[in-house]
Symmetry: C2
Subunit: 297 residues, 2 copies
Amino acid sequence: MTSGPVVAATRAQLVDLLAPARAAGARVGLVPTMGALHEGHSSLIRVARGEIGDGPLVVSIFVNPLQFGAGEDLDHYPRTLAADLALCAAEGVDVVFAPGVDEVYPTGIPTSSTNESVTVEPGPLATILEGRTRPGHFRGVLTMVAKLFGLVRPDVAVFGEKDYQQLALVRRMVADLCLDVDVVGAVTMREPDGLALSSRNRYLDAEQRQQALALSRALRAAQVAAATGALSARDAALAELAKEPAVELDYLAVTSPDLAELPDDVPPGTDARVLVAARVGSTRLIDNLPLVIGETP
Amino acid sequence: MTSGPVVAATRAQLVDLLAPARAAGARVGLVPTMGALHEGHSSLIRVARGEIGDGPLVVSIFVNPLQFGAGEDLDHYPRTLAADLALCAAEGVDVVFAPGVDEVYPTGIPTSSTNESVTVEPGPLATILEGRTRPGHFRGVLTMVAKLFGLVRPDVAVFGEKDYQQLALVRRMVADLCLDVDVVGAVTMREPDGLALSSRNRYLDAEQRQQALALSRALRAAQVAAATGALSARDAALAELAKEPAVELDYLAVTSPDLAELPDDVPPGTDARVLVAARVGSTRLIDNLPLVIGETP
């Protein structure tokens, strides 16, 4: 039995809780989440623990209104605090930071045109892929992550590769704003049949659950076909997706690891990434995998 | 005689220099500058020393290309490192942080359309006053200040009230991004005749130097006239400026202390700010003062 994490709701509580460990030179780890924790988050927590050793491990839980667009599922996003705390207890999390909206948005949520808040501008990388259908999403994400870095002051922060564009943008923000945080990416956790773990999977019924497997199958097909080039990888993934008409494709892209466009003539051995987004019923799912051009995995 | 500050050019050097003081729980103070230090900066340094006691006091010197617009004086901005170091030595500064461009802009300076850097978006408050004629200026300033906060990790940072809109926006950024830095404003230093100290005063010839006094005279006239209301304050300042035709007015504004518009009917006792920008010859000067509506200073 573990005693479970301490829950902090304010910066002041957090500062007090972390002060002894900081004074002793321990490394502070942060796993930012929107709650609705599942085995994927457990793996992020374990990666963080590996990075910080005995240092204090903080899991933040905050459903960030700024990263939800109009018509997105902010109001219906699952909120499961009791279960989240149980998972954190089982994983040896030291502190759960669950701030109120006022703590995170002291001058109000910058959604209306009259609000004058300072935000983080992610630049053009936020307008491709997820950004095409979710304008403002990554401004919301980066602003929130910057706030959490300011509130928690972690030495290490762990983000899942599942939200790959988010991970790439957080890395870019840390570089460009000279933030003193090690950003660590954690490999996507999957069900035995390949489905990437996601809080949104709970919206899928049994039939949709089967249909959703087309996404991970397409990514694996791309990995294999990458042996004969980036275009082959893309075609193979699209062919796999076409076999499942219930999957409504949003995008499928083969990019460089930092999401830049690949040149037409990619030399063998080049690292790349294949990313997909699609709707199954009313549920929007995303997934991605690494691949190497000219090599079979 | 003092031994003079240690000069650090990289984050790594800075981290090493500050580590013992941080471990001992000392407060780190930062005075961000673009060099060309004068008595105004000395006063910022003294304010910082008052805040941090024996803690390490860092003066950063970096002429930030991102906050200069096309046609502004980036290339001609005065660079006087030897004299700056002497001033810092005389003021008991512990560390001068003079980073190279690569340290501050690891992925390049985001001036061209192809650059994908993450920046700090200041919001509408950056489009008024200075922002009207200097588009992008405050994005450059806030991005730079965020970088310096990330690099130096100060507990206290001191900014002059001379650049009042900058101070207001830095305060706003710290609140909105939940940064863990105390922002302290330092009162503007003036020549005995009232001219606000500025690195750009050196561009004024003797005649322009006299003409430039119209700015501080106008602000003092506004302070006095505020006894009979905000509109009177504005009118008095404009009347004073009109007496000096060599001064080409850019703006004169009476605002709330956080730069919001004042309502038409301001109750007596309300704190406000009067701000002016004007050209004298080819030199653009700014100045501001506090005032209280309905009260004579």
